[in-house]
C-alpha cells in the first residue's frame, strides 16, 4: 500500500481525454497474422497513440472462483493494441488489433461480441494465415471485409486472384491498403462501414443467414 498511491497516479494526458458528453462506444476489430500491419493501421487513424490491453487465458477461460490461476504461472497472455476515434461529441469508435492465430481464439468471444464488424488484414505472401480467421468470422456471423496490406517487396496480385485464393463470398468486399497511410487506413474503415450499412438496409442479409446456421 502506502507509496504505491503516487506511483499509481496514471491516466491519459489531458488532451487524450474524451469530452464529458461521450456517451456511447462502438468497436471495430482488425485481425490478421503476425506482423501484417495491425498496429500500424490502428495507429494511422487513431487520435491517441495505440495503447495495449491484456488478458490472460486463465482469467478468461475458467469463469469460476478458483485459485488455479494463481498456481498456474504459465498462463497464456494475449495483448491487444487499440486506438480510438471520436466520431462526434457523443459517439466514440475503438479499434482493436488482434492476432489471428488459433491459440488466441479463446479470447474472441469477448472481443468480437458486439463489434460493428471486422477488417481482416492480409499479406499476400502469407495468405494461408488468413484462412482460419475468415472461417471463424463467417461461422460467428461477424461481418468483415478483407484488406490487403501492400508491402513493397510483395508480388502484386489482382484482387480477384486474392479473392479466389481466400475463397471469399462474392458479397464480401476486398480492398488494397497501405496501413502506414492515414487516408488509406481511413478508406479501409470506410469500406467496412459502407458494407455494414448495406447489410443493415438489406432485408435478407447474408450475415444473418450465416449466424442462424451456426
Amino acid at each position: 500500500m502506502d507509496s504505491r498511491g503516487s506511483e499509481l497516479a496514471v491516466g491519459p494526458a489531458r488532451e487524450d481525454a474524451l469530452p464529458a458528453s461521450a456517451a456511447t462506444a462502438v468497436k471495430i476489430v482488425v485481425v490478421g497474422g503476425f506482423g501484417v500491419g495491425k498496429t500500424t493501421l490502428v495507429g494511422s487513424v487513431s487520435e491517441i497513440r495505440p495503447l495495449t490491453t491484456e488478458e490472460t487465458m486463465t482469467e478468461v477461460s475458467v469463469g469460476v472462483d478458483d485459485v488455479r490461476g494463481v498456481e498456474q504461472k504459465d498462463a497464456t497472455t494475449v495483448a491487444m493494441d487499440f486506438g480510438r476515434i471520436s466520431i462526434n461529441e457523443q459517439l466514440v469508435l475503438y479499434l482493436f488489433g488482434t492476432p489471428g492465430q488459433q491459440r488466441f481464439w479463446f479470447l474472441w468471444t469477448g472481443l468480437f461480441e458486439g463489434a460493428l464488424g471486422a477488417v481482416v488484414l492480409v499479406d499476400t505472401r502469407r495468405l494461408e494465415a488468413s484462412f482460419d480467421v475468415i472461417g471463424r468470422l463467417e461461422n460467428g456471423g461477424v461481418p468483415f471485409i478483407v484488406a490487403v496490406n501492400v508491402f513493397p517487396d510483395a508480388p502484386t496480385h489482382p484482387m480477384a486472384e486474392v479473392r479466389a485464393a481466400l475463397d471469399l463470398p462474392a458479397a464480401v468486399p476486398i480492398v488494397a491498403c497501405d496501413a502506414r497511410s492515414r487516408a488509406s487506413s481511413r478508406d479501409t474503415l470506410l469500406a467496412l462501414m459502407r458494407y455494414l450499412y448495406r447489410l443493415s438496409t438489406q432485408s435478407a442479409a447474408p450475415v444473418a443467414a450465416s449466424a442462424a446456421t451456426e
Binding site: 498511491g5 495503447l51 482469467e59 475458467v62 471520436s86 460493428l116 443493415s200 444473418a208
Partner: protein, 124 residues
Amino acid sequence: MTPSPINDAPSAWEEGGPERLYVLTGGRGASGRRADIDLITLVVARAAARPEMQPEHASILRMCHWPLSMAEISAYLKLPFSVVAILVSDLLRDSLIEVRASVRMDGIGDPELLKAVMNGLQRL
C-alpha cells in the same frame, strides 16, 4: 520496427505475476464482476479518490474524471481487463462511478448509428 505502444504492457504486467492480481481483487474471480462491463464500456467517476482507498480504486477514480473506456483503464493501470472489471464493479457497487454501456451489435447494425460512424470517419 513495430511502433511501440505508449505503455510497454506485457513486461509490466509480468512484474507482479498472478499473485499480485489475486491480491488486487481479494481473490475473487468472475463472481466479483458485473457481466455488463466490456472492453469499450465508458467509465466516469462520480466521487473523488480518498487516501484510505485501495490505490487501484483511487487511480481509476482519478483517471475517470472524464469518460474513459475499460480498455484504456486496463492499459494505463497495466492490469488485465478481467482484473479491472472486478475493480470497476466494486466502484459501481459503491456508487462511486457511473458506466455508460457500449452499443452491442448482433450481426446487423442500426443504419443510423452506422451512418454516424461513416460521417465521422469521412471527416478524418
